[in-house]
């Protein structure tokens, strides 16, 4: 649903589909075989035929759609709210009560979907539907005079308009194909042709794609979900406790960005993929320590510098590319990185006209080098194994049962504050101006 319709207060197109679905439910409910059993309901001194109780409606919905009573009540409420079922007691209160309150089906003439100005194309279809539904309604409520009168009215008016409908429909279909579906924009024929051509080209390109077998891809999802199961608090809870349940922020404190000793789950996560290791500030620091020992730390420094170019300010790109060249790529550079000659040549060419993505090939090369070589060795190293052994496994704290013993929820320092402090410290260290904050991310 587009905001253009929202702003104007209408949700025409989107709601039509919902109404059609609700109408399907209503029709199913009135099915002579599988539908609801309707009986005479007593309202004060009148006996109303073909009515049902709120309780019956909920039971029927629960059985038909295999849902809980709560959900059936919710769905039933929607049907009442949109006028497909109306209450006989307290007609102004459009709520479904799960008791013996009587309800009846609304005649299709008064369905919300039929009261809205339908598009001309739907006009013919709608009139036909109303006619059919009113016949059904007529069959069921044959003794209910009002309904019969409505149906007759429908029949008469629809018969008169039939011919006009047909003519209109023919003309509309031509235009309809061109426009595709409402909301209508004025699209010229040329644009349609353009879209067709673009679509054809996109299809041709897509045909040439390399695809992977479903079985392999789907196994991937299974493996991923299984691997991360213990890390998903909604599935398995978290240690020491979910802060939202226990009001204890220990879990967040233990898993803060930089801690003296990380938790075991966190350290385990570094072994899931190279991205996990690099995305965690502590993991990255540990990896850097390891690389320093191996005398290949320049790779990680290079990668970080390239990330900075890719995601940094536009104005600083040229100067950053210069720095990277000086420190990592120039012959005899302090932290020279080992890239294959083809990529090196291409990068050096690109540096002459620096742009945001000029370092991408080189960065990718180094990234995969670290991933295939240094990363697996890091996972087997003593450094990592020690980290894993040292890591904390927090004790599960039980939530206090007594309300008066529950902890107070304290506010944490605003990230804006910590960011300012960090930036100030950074500024003092570097002696340069701090970068202005645009957000607290």
């Amino acid at each position: 649903m587009t905001i253009n319709t929202l702003a104007k207060g209408g949700c025409h197109r989107e709601q039509m589909a919902c109404f059609r679905k609700m109408e399907k439910v209503i029709v199913a409910m009135q099915d002579p075989d599988m539908g609801m059993k309707m009986r005479n309901q007593r309202l004060l001194i009148t006996v109303i035929p073909h009515a049902m109780t709120g309780h019956d409606i909920i039971t029927w919905l629960t059985h038909k759609y295999r849902i809980s009573e709560e959900e059936a009540l919710h769905l039933g409420n929607m049907l009442v709210k949109y006028g497909y079922i109306y209450p006989l007691k307290e007609p102004r209160c459009l709520v479904l009560r799960p008791d013996e309150s009587p309800y009846r089906f609304q005649t299709p003439y008064f369905w919300t979907s039929t009261r809205w100005p339908a598009s001309e194309l739907d006009y013919g279809k709608k009139k036909l539907k109303i006619y059919m539904y009113s016949l059904l309604h007529k069959r069921i409520n044959h003794t209910w005079d009002f309904v019969v009168m409505q149906a007759r009215e429908q029949l008469r008016s629809s018969k008169q308009r039939r011919k006009a409908d047909r003519i209109v429909l023919e003309c509309q279909e031509q235009a309809y194909w061109l426009i595709n579906r409402p909301p209508v924009r004025s699209i010229t024929l040329y644009c349609i042709q353009l879209y067709c051509v673009v679509h054809i080209e996109a299809c041709r390109k897509a045909l040439g794609r390399n695809r992977v077998k479903s079985s392999i891809c789907l196994e991937g999802f299974l493996k991923y979900s299984e691997q991360y199961l213990n890390h998903d608090p909604i599935m398995q809870g978290c240690l020491p406790s979910n802060p939202w349940i226990s009001d204890d922020t220990a879990h967040w404190t233990m898993n803060a960005e930089i801690v003296p000793v990380p938790t075991r789950l966190r350290v385990e996560r570094w072994s899931f993929s190279f991205t996990e290791l690099l995305n965690d500030a502590m993991g990255r620091k540990e990896f850097m320590t390891y690389l320093e020992k191996e005398f290949s730390a320049e790779n990680l420094y290079f990668w970080q510098a390239c990330e900075d170019i890719r995601h940094g300010e536009n104005s600083k790109i040229v100067e950053k590319v210069e720095d990277v060249y000086k420190n990592f790529l120039a012959p005899g550079a302090a932290r020279w990185v080992n890239i294959d000659s083809k990529t090196m040549d291409k990068t050096l060419e690109g540096i002459k006209r620096p742009h945001r993505f000029v370092m991408d090939d080189a960065q990718m090369h180094i990234y995969f080098l670290m991933k295939k070589d240094s990363y697996p060795r890091y996972l087997k190293s003593d450094l990592y194994k020690n980290m894993l052994a040292k890591a904390i496994v927090p004790q599960e704290t039980k939530k206090s049962v007594f309300p008066f013993m529950r902890r107070q929820r304290h506010s944490s320092p605003s990230p804006a504050q910590t960011a300012t402090q960090a930036a100030e410290e950074e500024g003092l260290a570097k002696g340069a101006g701090t970068r202005s904050l645009y957000s607290v991310v």
Binding site: C196, I200, R211
Partner: protein, 378 residues
């Protein structure tokens, strides 16, 4: 330009026909490698134990529909925008409001932690500072300009670049510092309603969904449309990547959510139920990707088992349509925003075994009336 493809004698009819044939051929190609369905593969996965997710925090303070919300990296703060023209930063844990920024535009459609965009066609970045007396609205900086409303926005990996989607049918990448347009993405034939950045290693792609029922995957560098999926039957309101980056889910007005695999290049699951009649407006994955939370226009949030394709549970509570659901960054809680002007935070009580032990212990030394009161207090 593509118009050069229009040769003499190529009428609209022939183009139509070619387009249809190619589309069919593409479907055939995609189906060739379709040797198994997701729910079949998922048969060997354990069935989810009964999920007990409850809403326990309600954030009241907006005067009108809440249109969007997002979590802060600190896992407890969130920002929300509303039709009353205000953007509020909350500490959801303590229920305190920390900042309130009034804006000139009343339809503030999207806020990611910091940028705000809306029906005035502009996307603004507001710096958040501690000085509560500071007029934050005055420091607002206009970054993105579209020719129609801006429906969604997201920061890329840093806060220096902003990606926006718009009602003018395009997406655009902007430099925050200068407000310059870095790249634009054309290909949708109707309003683009949502976008999401890929969490992949190379971090270069994003997916967008729009009113043309298509979900497109784009390369941020070249602006090219890499992949396209067209299987929804109505507007796509929200798209979200699976945590591994190999797939994404979409929520649509046709009352279904669908799961698309990027490597197999096809739709692999449809999450629907006969009793779900109203469209889904938003969706998000749990941390492991096993659960998909989807907010619907009938005020409910349905929780789907992504692998098995079944519905795990349903959350009630909102009194108007749910406009946005987001799982917190560490996966501990689910935040939801709604047109009933409230935000709610829900979490799972699944691992409640320790509570049972407590309950049993209590049974022995406290009289039964007291025990009843305490269990109700949960």
């Amino acid at each position: 330009m593509a118009c050069q493809g229009l040769q003499k004698g190529e009428t609209l009819e022939s183009l139509k026909r070619e387009s249809e044939t190619l589309k069919k051929k593409l479907e055939e190609e995609r189906n060739k490698l379709n040797d198994v369905e997701l729910h079949q593969v998922a048969e060997k996965v354990e069935v989810l134990s009964a999920l007990s997710i409850k809403t326990r925090r309600v954030l009241k303070g907006h005067g009108n529909k809440v249109l969007c919300m997002d979590w802060c990296k600190d896992k407890r703060r969130m920002v929300s925008s509303s039709q009353d023209g205000k953007v509020i930063v909350w500490d959801a844990f303590t229920l305190n409001k920390e900042h309130g920024v009034p804006l000139p535009c009343t339809w503030v459609l999207a806020c990611a932690y910091a940028p705000l965009s809306g029906l005035d066609n502009k996307c603004s970045v507001i710096p958040l500072s501690l000085d509560k007396n500071e007029n934050l609205a005055a420091k607002k900086k206009s970054v993105a300009m579209h020719t129609n409303y801006v429906s969604g926005c997201s920061f890329t990996n840093s806060d220096m670049q902003l990606l926006t989607s718009s009602g003018d049918g395009t997406c655009a990448l902007w430099d925050v510092e200068s407000g310059q347009l870095l790249q634009s993405f054309h290909g949708h034939t109707a309003d683009v309603l949502s976008l999401d950045l890929a969490p992949s290693e190379t971090g270069n792609t994003f997916v967008s969904g729009g009113c043309d029922m298509k979900a497109n995957v784009w390369d941020m560098r070249s602006g090219q449309n890499i992949q396209s999926f067209e299987s929804h039957e109505s507007d796509i309101n929200c798209v979200k990547y699976y945590p591994s980056g190999d797939a994404f889910a979409s929520a649509s007005d046709d009352a279904t959510c669908r799961f698309y695999d990027l490597r197999a290049d096809r739709e692999v699951a449809v999450y629907q139920k006969d009793s779900i009649i109203f469209g889904a407006s938003t969706c998000d994955f749990s941390l492991s990707g096993r659960l998909l939370f989807a907010g619907y226009n009938d005020y409910t949030i349905n929780v789907w088992d992504v692998l098995k394709g079944t519905r795990a549970t349903i959350l009630f509570g909102h009194e108007n349509r749910v406009s946005r659901v987001r799982v917190s960054p560490d996966g501990t809680a689910l935040g939801s925003a709604s047109w009933d002007s409230t935000l709610r935070v829900s979490w799972s009580f699944s691992t409640g075994s320790n509570y049972i032990f407590r309950f049993i212990k209590l049974l022995f030394w406290v009289n039964s009336r007291l025990v009843l009161e305490f269990t109700v207090a949960f």
